[in-house]
Symmetry: C2
Subunit: 213 residues, 2 copies
């Protein structure tokens, strides 16, 4: 089944687009921060927030008093966009200069998550951010769960867009004496910074030791 | 003059918010990719795109045949959001786990840029992405300028939101035997990858040699 719809059909550079579940899921799974768009009185608002994917749904969460979350919980149309910037594509002209990237746009409406699924969703988001941590930290109290809103968005109308590879210059421009190619970019973790109140003997968990290499 | 308005007033965790020009500009200047939200028939769309700041305006550009740019050029309300993810804040509970980040939200309407300002805007965007490159590459032809839409968005209704520092746990949780602190994250450049068609003797420009260190 394709995730393509009239609204998610990529018009610009359609050769960069994909609508298959695996392609969309892989890009979602490579990140944990999305930009969530919603509309209030005709004005769009775009807010960065964490997310987690579980099968064909995406979970997001926030404070129960958040205006954004309250609005989204009412089932308004939303757009969830995830972007990974992979490099600067440095062509010999400005016109052909570009970026390498992987991005996904999901359209739809969210519903409120309650009960057992709410704790499950919080685990999914936590594990997407840092796999292995959820089982070590204190789980949510009833009061904390009440103070948290969790939303579920189905992934059934979406598109992926990907650019890879070197610049594609005009034929005449290849003679110009200017460096051209790709400057790769990626998000990297630095050395973990212990909380000032952490006892010195507390061991660094395996999931952080792996990231240090 | 403040960039605060009723619509850009941060309600959640207002101690993290700022509305001064310098604070907003510094966050904009630290990046070059934004997420641009606009509305079509009630449905929000959020698209990643490059931008450049020049004084109190932001420039964005795109293909003249892009639906998004055509829509934005008509002066519809838009939201331009820039987010820098600075680290995972690993608290002893899920509830207090967070992110360190710097983000800016700009609301407004864009106008079409033409004439001399159009080339100026393209330079601003290029220099924001990679300072020093514009003067080395081939400038835009008339045909390329016709195929490019450039928009200008004033920065006069905006907010910044910033979180820094270690986790803030519930007092009782500080006794838990779990590692807590911050995992710093940043975007890093890898070694430049020359275009396969680049003559081997082409020197790496100074602005890329600096990034290699």
């Amino acid at each position: 089944m394709s995730l393509k719809s009239a609204r998610t059909t990529v018009r610009r550079l359609p050769r960069r687009a994909a609508y298959d579940h695996d392609g969309v899921h892989a890009i979602l799974d490579a990140g944990f921060i999305c930009h969530l768009g919603h509309v209030v009185a005709g004005q769009p608002f775009v807010i960065p927030t964490a997310y987690g994917r579980d099968g064909d749904v995406i979970y997001v969460h926030g404070s129960a008093v958040s205006r954004t979350l309250k609005n989204l919980a009412e089932g308004v149309p939303l757009c969830l966009t995830v972007t990974h910037l992979d490099g600067l594509v440095l062509a010999r002209s400005g016109f052909h200069s570009s970026m390498n990237y992987r991005s996904v746009v999901v359209l739809g409406s969210a519903v409120l998550v309650e009960g057992d699924e709410k704790v499950h969703a919080l685990r999914v988001i936590s594990e997407q951010i840092l796999k292995g941590r959820w089982d070590e930290i204190r789980g949510p109290s009833r009061k904390e769960l009440r103070a948290t809103t969790v939303l579920r968005l189905p992934i059934d109308e979406a598109s992926a867009k990907v650019r890879t590879g070197p610049p594609m210059d005009d034929e005449a421009d290849y003679e110009l004496p200017v460096w051209a190619g790709v400057l790769p970019l990626s998000v990297r973790a630095g050395p973990p910074e212990p909380d000032p109140r952490l006892p010195a003997e507390t061991p660094l968990p395996a999931y952080l030791r792996r990231r240090r290499r």
